[in-house]
């Protein structure tokens, strides 16, 4: 039990470390390329690509009867979970609210919708590969 928890912590922590670094890298790359635009931000890019990837990776990892739990924890909970962020998303929305309520609503609504859409696209894209396995 305790040994299991230690293993989980190591896999999630390692994934989280990589995810946070990738997010920081995306932030730096985005700011140096596009500057500080107000509507599309680095957080938007991370959340949308991360949502796409969770659809892809979840579908691929869980196609078998006995999915690898540690790989799930490392890739999904750790890496992709850390790569995307909710606090950054909400903080940006909060800052936008000071500029215009319309921009604020648009930012929240569009990011949630596009994120959701990305999950579905991610799942659909790898679906053919999962069927051939059965």
């Amino acid at each position: 039990m305790f040994k299991n928890l230690i293993r989980e912590v190591i896999f999630v922590g390692l994934g989280g470390m990589i995810g946070a670094l990738l997010r920081h890298g995306t932030n730096s790359l985005f700011t140096s390329t596009f500057g500080n635009t107000s509507f599309i931000t680095a957080t938007t890019i991370e959340n949308v690509t991360g949502s796409f990837l969770i659809g892809v990776i979840f579908t691929l990892l869980n196609r078998k009867d006995s999915p690898n739990r540690m790989l799930n924890l490392f890739l999904l909970t750790g890496m992709i979970g850390s790569y995307t962020t909710y606090s950054g998303f909400m903080v940006e929305a909060f800052i936008l609210l000071n500029q215009s309520p319309l921009l604020f609503m648009g930012y929240l609504f569009s990011q949630v919708c596009i994120g959701l859409f990305s999950v579905v696209v991610g799942m659909k894209i790898v679906k053919p590969f999962t069927n051939s396995q059965e």
């Binding site: 989980e8 912590v9 999630v12 922590g13 390692l14 994934g15 989280g16 470390m17 990589i18 995810g19 946070a20 670094l21 997010r23 920081h24 932030n27 991370e46 959340n47 991360g50 949502s51 990837l53 969770i54 659809g55 979840f58 924890l73 999904l76 909970t77 750790g78 992709i80 979970g81 850390s82 790569y83 995307t84 962020t85 909710y86 606090s87 950054g88 998303f89 909400m90 903080v91 929305a93 909060f94 929240l108 949630v112 994120g115 959701l116 990305s118 999950v119 579905v120």
Partner: protein, 131 residues
Amino acid sequence: MAQIFLIALGGAIGAVLRHLTGKVSMRFFGATNVYTGTLFANLLGCFIAGILLAFFTHAETFIEDTRLFLTIGVLGSYTTFSTFAFETHRLFSKPLKELLIYLFYQIAGAFILLVCGYGITAWLMRALGNV
């Protein structure tokens, strides 16, 4: 270089805390579609994000590395968008009521908590004469 290390460390801590939040919520709420670990992590994370945002906006001096460690590292990893989108998608095949409750807590709830965290901290800092 030190910044990279701090973000990596913060990211690992945030992810592990999120995983543990999931375990705790599992113990209290069981396997539910609405009251998930992701929901609680995002709610708590946004409240703390409000506190930190107010602090780092109004504080006269702070160490930039501390800000990076806490906001980009720990909180950025503790909260997550991908699982939120994933769980929302899963709720599409469940009763509409569950989906609406989940979205309400995640979006309105998290935002209100962020504003509360920000407001309380900004007020405290003014009252205490800006530390």
